[in-house]
């Protein structure tokens, strides 16, 4: 089982005719994702990859194909608008890959999402994958294996490390969700943990975090009260200097808050097994599952 995406997902790709959109749409299709439509304003009427119809608007794509999820590859200046367009068209799951969206745009987009049914994942994220069923994003599909560990992470390649370790040790994944590296996003650690907690197909959860914000601490508080399934975690950035943005817009220790040490302490207090280094992520999960 899984959360949010499975073999029934019908995927739209916004920005499908751009270089990144086209490449990754093809990769997702090769993985087995059911890509049913593309949107690039002004390119409606074209066919992508011999079989995917391209539309000018998300509304039209929705009406004509029944797409229920979207993967956004629109460049940063237009990405928040693309998110709002998808929500307005009634798309239930919006996965925004784009990095570099101005924070104020995301602040406003969250306001625009308030009364819509859409769940937003990202922006600045690698996407979401239910191994063997549906891949929405840029992650390498082959490292994943169907199973029962739920993975939630802010990072891209660090997540692939974790998944690689889990798969190598025989621990498949129910769903892997990359929530992204931006300070304001659609789905936080606590949201993903809650969904994994309620998913009968997920038996254990691994949480990968980093400096900045309070997402991991909020998840820890939730875990303490509500989660009986085994949880392991790794937090990156113990050596990051304060006040510097470490690659991700949201990875910054500000005014003494958002440190790796603080997050680790909160998670440990909630009974989460902590991997001391990224080399031990699968070990920590296995340890906790015993």
């Amino acid at each position: 089982m899984s959360i949010l995406v499975d073999k029934n997902t019908r995927l739209l790709v916004q920005g499908i005719t751009g270089k990144a959109g086209a490449f990754h749409a093809t990769q997702c299709m090769e993985y087995g994702t059911n890509v049913v439509a593309g949107v690039t304003p002004g390119r409606g009427g074209e066919i992508f990859g011999d079989e995917v119809p391209v539309f000018d608007t998300v509304s039209e794509a929705r009406a004509k194909t029944g797409c229920n999820a979207t993967m956004i590859f629109v460049p940063a200046p237009g990405a928040a608008d693309a998110i709002l367009e998808a929500a307005d068209a009634g798309i239930e799951l919006i996965v925004c890959i784009t990095e570099g969206i101005p924070v104020i745009d995301m602040m406003r987009a969250k306001v625009g999402l308030r009364d819509k049914k859409a769940r937003l994942i990202g922006p600045n994220c690698p996407g979401i994958i239910t191994p063997g069923q549906c891949k929405i994003g840029i992650m390498p599909g082959y490292i994943h294996k169907p199973g029962k560990v739920g993975v939630v992470s802010r990072s891209g390649t660090l997540t692939y490390e974790a998944v690689w370790q889990l798969t190598s040790r025989g621990l498949g994944q129910s769903t892997c969700i990359g929530i992204g590296g931006d300070p304001i996003n659609g789905t936080s650690h606590i949201d993903a943990v809650r969904m994994f907690n309620e998913d009968p197909g997920t038996e254990a959860i691994i949480l990968i975090g980093e400096i900045g914000g309070t997402g991991e601490e909020d998840a820890a508080a939730y875990i303490q009260v509500h989660v009986k399934k085994p949880v392991a975690a790794f937090i990156a950035g113990a050596t990051a200097p304060p006040g510097r943005r470490m690659g991700h817009a949201g990875a910054i220790v500000s005014g003494g808050k958002g440190t790796a040490a603080g997050k680790i302490a909160a998670l440990e207090a909630a009974g989460v097994a902590i991997a001391r280094t990224l080399a031990e992520m699968a070990d920590a999960m296995i340890r906790k599952m015993k």
């Binding site: 101005p102 840029i138 390649t157």
Partner: protein, 394 residues
Amino acid sequence: MNIHEYQAKELMQKFGVATPPGAVAGTPEEAEAVARSLQASDLVIKAQIHAGGRGKGTFKNGFKGGVKLVKTPGEIRDLAAKMLGQTLVTAQTGEAGKLVGKVMIAVAKDPVRELYFAIVLDREAQAPVIIASTKGGMNIEDVAHETPELILRMKIDPALGLQPYEARKLADYLGLKGVFFKPACAIFQALYNLFIATDCSLVEINPLVTTAQNEVLALDAKFNFDDNALYRHPDILAYRDITEEDPREVEASRFGLNYIGLDGNIACLVNGAGLAMSTMDIIQYAGGKPANFLDVGGGATEQQVTEAFKILVSDGNVKAILVNIFGGIMKCDTIAQGIINAVKAVSLPVPLVVRLEGTNVAAGRKLLQESNLPIIAADDLLDAARKVVAAVKK
């Protein structure tokens, strides 16, 4: 991105934020001309650097104080001559200090009350938050620590913006009544407009002052801008002062590399920010000291890898390099070839440990082995970290 005080003043003037008249100068003559144009009997001259603590700082030429109050344009000229082209060391610059390229001359104002006013994009609130306190002119973090009850935090709805009644509430909280009431509301509104219009992440006015002439003024201003939004503010981007930034970081950004210099001796090169942070962490865990954060991005082209190596070896402190790449869409053999070519191009002076994982990893490792270059291969990350720490000790 940060800007200089004189640039902040220009921005505030543009948005109608009340601030003492003043302007920038790059020579003693210009400084005197600015001083004359102000036609005031009390003037202040301030060295322009991206750091605080200027008043108590010392120049390397022995001259003390980067902020001076004087009465005449002639004195302004003399002081400008002592500051311009000199290096100012303050508590915030570190021992190296910062070179003063410009000075700002302004009308000196005698504050009656000193207050604190800031607007920050708060990620928890997911909205702009106004922070106000009657305790201006001091370190707000000390105030937050000692007397948190003297700080007001007001969340502003991003859809509505700062409403006039909210500005009135703030004025009331800060005790800005009577003749100060209207100018206070005006300055809060103007600052909020500036904040939104320029995609700020932080606007800090410390102190916000009242004067005997019944003014409410921003006496000092610190702005920080959202790097993601600079593409739509070419005028703000034009304020960028590259001389205030680490030259290695500037060089790295030219090639789409994300580099942050630290003070250790083990350099690292990684694809992905989370993986790069974790790599720095595991170096420390294994007993070493990371020299930098370097994210070559998800793509990691051969050119980027080469430029990254050049930047790493240009740091004299670096005694060993650890490369950690997880090839997803990028293939490990492509990365390996890039590393080999880069090593040849820069003729590597220090030990190199490479750990590859992911797509085509076997082919990648084989390429490294057969290259006959002195590259130390490692299979897992802890092994790699231990090897690079050991390589430094040799």
